[in-house]
Symmetry: C2
Subunit: 720 residues, 2 copies
């Protein structure tokens, strides 16, 4: 089928890191960057497992790079197969989005002058997330002699230089089976991997286990002649203390069963699981191959990152594909990625929102530490929900730069409440709202109730000293996005409480007692809703992004073109604050999330004002897809498509130059929203989901499905 | 011989890190912490090689933990020998100071119930610093069957979690010989290690090389029965790009030669080299075994850390025995450790001072970056002499603490000049002074000439905003130690210039041109010498430590006893500044270094005033030995001995609780000074070295040797 494969036909060492990200595999349990089985100098080999965090300085905690399950080395006549030696005569790497199988086929001439065809295949099973498979076939073109395959579980892995593991145990069960058990140094999370290696060829195969400490390895040897091949099949299993009591036993038991069933059976199960998932969420775009592939690739990235069986983890900003942001979750998850799951796989969305419910204790600690009541969610969140944003990061000249997001980028607290409501509205999952959602929405409202400040002179409630979505400006007062979302959060809290009192009065009473929802507190919320500072000018229709934004100097971005970095990167952090330069939509983001708050004239006026002031190419990657969706909603399909392309090329073309640090998860989620909510024109109304398509001119057909209140609806939109 | 062995007869896992430091081995090229050959959970395995630095955040650069040459694992019937499994029936670890050989003998009962006697021996050759040896003998008490020995070169080592190495190459030469080549990530320094393993026993031995990536290993197998033994002998060689063009070739060639000569020959050469060194510097104390052993142990630590064949490295504050201070050199080297070498092994002292000469470019960069002329030495110095003091370190609560030493702890610049002069005076090495020393002393004087500030109101030159030796007080003005040493530095510069003009007029002219030593500059120096602020009260005889010290509040340390941490640790960094609490001698340090500057009444007055105000137990480890030497010089032998014991127990008894981070090199050097300059009463006069012994009552005899101007003099002091 067309547009289901990501293909690379040329090996470019300079593109190594970015391509490692692009070809990432995963199964919702772990993610693995696409480094090579045999290793390559300067690569960033990385497998991350949801929830396996360990402590680290500055960024507090990070997902830990686990032992390298893809390891498979080939030694021919004493020479290691390595792409930086010998001659690479042919090369093709392919990621099949149907089933998440990565293949690589190379023709290689060794330094000694022998030629081989080597084909690799690997997958992380979606059917059983603890099963991983690697296959390697070495065919001799002109060589006669012995070939060695060494496949093991190297545990000496690090997080960009930092080692998190302690060795606990390892061993061989038989000549073909090895295991390794390690433990994180600070969080004491045990992990066991086990592997079995089977080699087949024309002649007899001998096995020599290599039980090197930290790196138990199966070594197998066989002879080949021109036209003959050796095929190595490696099955790996992995368990952690988050999954089971004794990971080592679980890994070995699972391996035994997997070996008995065989690699092919594991592949069949994996492929079937993928087919099932695609049946719930695939999008087909006809008439635009680039868009068709880019959208499918984005969904693939979301699918391999989403926790399907775990409600105590969330999708990090860079998914499980890189160490950017250290595996922490931001509003990227709830506002950008979550809608895809809400509307296609609500069970997964349920897990992801439960993560926020489970981290309410951390959010309450953050509020208390800052002198507030209620729940104040972490800007960057990891295992516990405590704030994990670094306070200081090293700048270019070794100077430290203070990062304020963890202190004052408050809007995430309302964003999470917003996501809870969206899930409820789309799914009708009253049990979730009763048991988890209501408490979260009410406790975030509690935070806002004490965070606002009454300005008697202006007669308004203000929220001062914050950072809005546009992080180019910090320590601002009355950020429009924040204030609108806070008002919404308080309104929704009152609404949910009314609903709860009517539907589940006992739960309502319990929450009122637990959260001290006194009549005075509720009256205060109503007062804040009525009097929160909203800077909307009825004449110009403009909403000022924050107090004083209109007084900032303007800049013509064209004066700085062509550029390959952000305006902030060019001007500096302090200097940029002085200008009307947005890192990403802020007032427009509010319009996007609260479409009914203002009329179309107001949205248009603000669109026209803020869009040219937003650094869409090199500002935040969160911007373009939202701009696309909002433009489409306004009927400006040409602009929408341009913004959409910017988003679609983010990772596949490394458009921002930082794909090496990991997939832009929010962009992937935004692309889905741009297609479904933007071009597809889907929106939720009191009557259900309706679609008002505004397709780009080249798109002859768009087909997608959405789940509304348990019912799956297929939308098949044909252009004109 | 008595008091030549450090012995541990009981294995205590809680004392692991401290004992690893105590039993450190070395040969002036590398230092190796005494972890176990088979590894142990939570150990800090570490080998550091002089000059092998790599970049790291915060502390700029650090010595790199190199591949683990001591590695030797034993597997019996599939069970690994490890001290955290089975039963340890007997245990003895011994460091022989005669020859730097570390042995360990254990009787171990395996989890399966078999009993073995296992004896390990290792050494880093002092005769050929690129040769290292490990021997292991496994004797069966009641076991019959196969024993495996695995000895290799694990390269996946880290610096407290941070990985500095990239893998470059590895391989096997034959079944018994393996090598590994790695390269530091940032500084691109290549290192190669090679090893050869020979196993002997009652029956045949089979070898199976295990070429696991990152960890080439020789595996040997043999059978033993009760009463029989297997002996594994591992010879290792190591070279880096600092030593030779192609380290891998050098390591393999040297290994071939070493294997041919054999382990025993390497031991013989090592033992002979040690005997030669001890003949130059041993100290014998009769009547006090503790002192005799502690002094010898201190000299051993200095000897294994000193670069014997390298003039571009220096001894780090924690020697090569731990990662405390990351391998950086401080004034600890010149003021505390260097005198031992000046007076016993002037060639080594010569190397160490050349290191400072070679880092003059870094010192000049530091001066220029701070807006000064001349040479401003780094408070913490590494490969280049550029400042490597961390500017910020994380405090307890994750807050960052600004470290000012790199900015304003200026006295090191004078300290180094002082050391250069001491070396010259003791050795009469005019060539050194002419070629290197003069330039250093003159250029440091140049720095001081522009660093002082004229205070017209007071009519004095001031040196404001500094940190003196007492780091409990920062940003102080006119620190007495600093101002006295600066005056000395300027005086010495004029003296050296006169000497140079008289002796080597061409060199004098060249330096005057190079350093712009105009008559005006020299006149200015004379003016500073005459008018630098010196706060000496002729009435009380007290010298104020810095402007305003006498106004600070006093504290009775007894109110805080018993304590196990410093006064600063108890009160906090900011609070301590308000009190008369010294971290270490400051005015007294000046008296110690400049004994002729004041009369004995003044020294006594300041001793009485400052000693009770100094945190000698848990303040700086630099204090007690100097207090001991100064007390002895004043004739207060009782006090001197108490201070001496405090110093002597620093590492051997982990008295300060931080020996795990590495040997206190300055304490070791201070102990030598306390014995020779303090109790021995040795001092340099115009006529040579004279001794006025003031021995502690228990000491019946002290014998040491000193070299004066090329002549070796033995002092054999018998008590009364």
């Amino acid at each position: 089928m067309k547009n289901w494969e990501i293909i690379e036909t040329n090996f470019d060492p300079n593109a190594l890191r970015y391509k490692e990200t692009v070809f990432t595999l995963g199964n919702g349990y772990l993610g693995t960057r696409s480094t090579f089985e045999e290793g390559y100098m300067g690569e960033e080999s990385l497998t991350l497992i949801h929830g396996i965090f360990d402590d680290v300085s500055i960024v507090h905690t990070e997902l830990v790079n686990v032992p390298n399950w893809i390891h498979c080395e080939i030694v021919i006549n004493g020479e290691r197969f390595r792409l930086d030696r010998g001659v690479l005569l042919d090369y093709c790497r392919k990621l099949d989005l149907h089933n998440g199988v990565l293949t690589r086929v190379v023709r290689w001439r060794s330094p000694a002058g022998y030629t081989f065809d080597i084909a690799f295949e690997r997958f992380a099973s979606l059917a059983d997330e603890h099963i991983l498979g690697v296959r390697c076939k070495i065919t001799s073109v002109d060589f006669t002699g012995a070939v060695e395959v060494r496949a093991g579980l190297p545990g000496y892995v690090d997080n960009t230089g930092f080692v998190h593991w302690q060795w606990l145990d390892q061993g061989s069960i038989d000549q073909q089976t090895a295991y390794l058990t390690v433990c994180t140094k600070k969080t004491a999370l045990t992990l066991s991997m086990a592997c079995h290696v089977e080699v087949e060829g024309a002649g007899p195969i001998t096995y020599h286990p290599q039980d090197c400490t930290w790196s138990p390895t199966v070594m197998a040897q066989g002879n080949i002649a021109p036209g003959q091949a050796l095929t190595a099949t490696k099955l790996v299993t992995v368990f952690t203390a988050r999954d089971t009591g004794v990971p080592q036993t679980a890994a070995l038991d699972k391996l035994q069963a997997a070996v008995k069933a065989g690699y092919d059976a594991a592949r069949v199960a994996n492929d079937a699981a993928w087919a099932d998932v695609w049946n719930t969420c695939n999008i087909t775009i006809e008439g635009d191959d680039e868009a068709d592939l880019a959208v499918r690739y984005s969904l693939f990235q979301l699918l391999i990152a989403a926790p399907r069986h775990d409600s105590r983890v969330s999708i990090p900003a860079k998914t499980l594909s890189g160490l950017g942001y250290r595996g922490h979750a931001f509003w990227d998850t709830e506002i950008f990625m979550l809608p895809f799951f809400i509307y296609t796989q609500p069970d997964v969305a349920h897990n992801m929102l439960l993560y926020r419910y489970h981290t309410l204790p951390g959010a309450r600690r953050k509020a208390a530490e800052n002198g507030y009541e209620g729940a104040m969610f972490a800007w960057e969140s990891a295992a516990t929900g405590d704030e994990t944003t670094p306070r200081w990061v090293p700048g270019r000249g070794g100077e430290l730069i203070r990062i304020w997001c963890g202190d004052i980028e408050l809007h995430i607290t309302a964003d999470i409440a917003y996501a809870v409501h969206t899930y409820w509205r789309a799914t009708g999952d009253d049990a979730f709202m009763r048991d988890y959602g209501a408490e979260l929405i009410l406790d975030t409202a509690r935070f806002w109730g004490v965070r606002v400040e009454w300005n008697a002179a202006r007669g308004v409630y203000e929220i001062n000293d914050v950072i809005g979505p546009d992080e180019n400006h910090d320590h601002v007062n009355n950020n429009a996005y924040t204030n609108h979302l806070v008002r919404w959060n308080l309104q929704m809290a009152l609404h949910i409480l009314s609903w709860l009192r009517a539907t589940y009065p006992e739960k309502a009473a319990a929450l009122c007692a637990q959260l001290e929802l006194t009549p005075e507190r509720l009256a205060h919320w109503r007062d804040v809703i009525a009097n929160i500072c909203i800077a909307h000018d009825p004449e110009t229709h403009l909403i000022e992004q924050f107090d004083g934004f209109f007084e900032l100097e303007t800049v013509d971005f064209n004066d700085y073109e062509p550029r390959v970095t952000s305006m902030q990167g060019l001007l500096g952090v302090e200097e940029t604050q002085k200008y009307q330069i947005l890192k990403q939509p802020d007032v427009l983001m509010m319009h996007y999330l609260l479409p009914d708050a203002y009329d179309s004239v107001t949205v248009k006026a603000n669109w026209d004002y803020y869009t040219p002031r937003t650094d869409l190419t090199y500002g935040s990657s969160l911007g373009p897809a939202i701009q696309a969706a909002l433009a489409a909603r306004q009927g400006d399909i040409g602009a929408a498509y341009q913004h959409f392309l910017l988003a679609a090329r983010t990772d596949l073309q490394n458009a921002r130059g930082n794909t090496g640090e990991g997939i832009h998860g929010a962009t992937a989620g935004g692309i889905w929203q741009a297609v479904v909510f933007g071009f597809g024109g889907a929106r939720l109304t009191e009557e259900g989901i309706i679609c008002e398509p505004r397709l780009p001119s080249s798109w002859t057909r768009v087909a997608f499905q959405l789940v509304y209140q348990g019912e799956r609806i297929t939308f098949d939109l044909v252009h004109r």
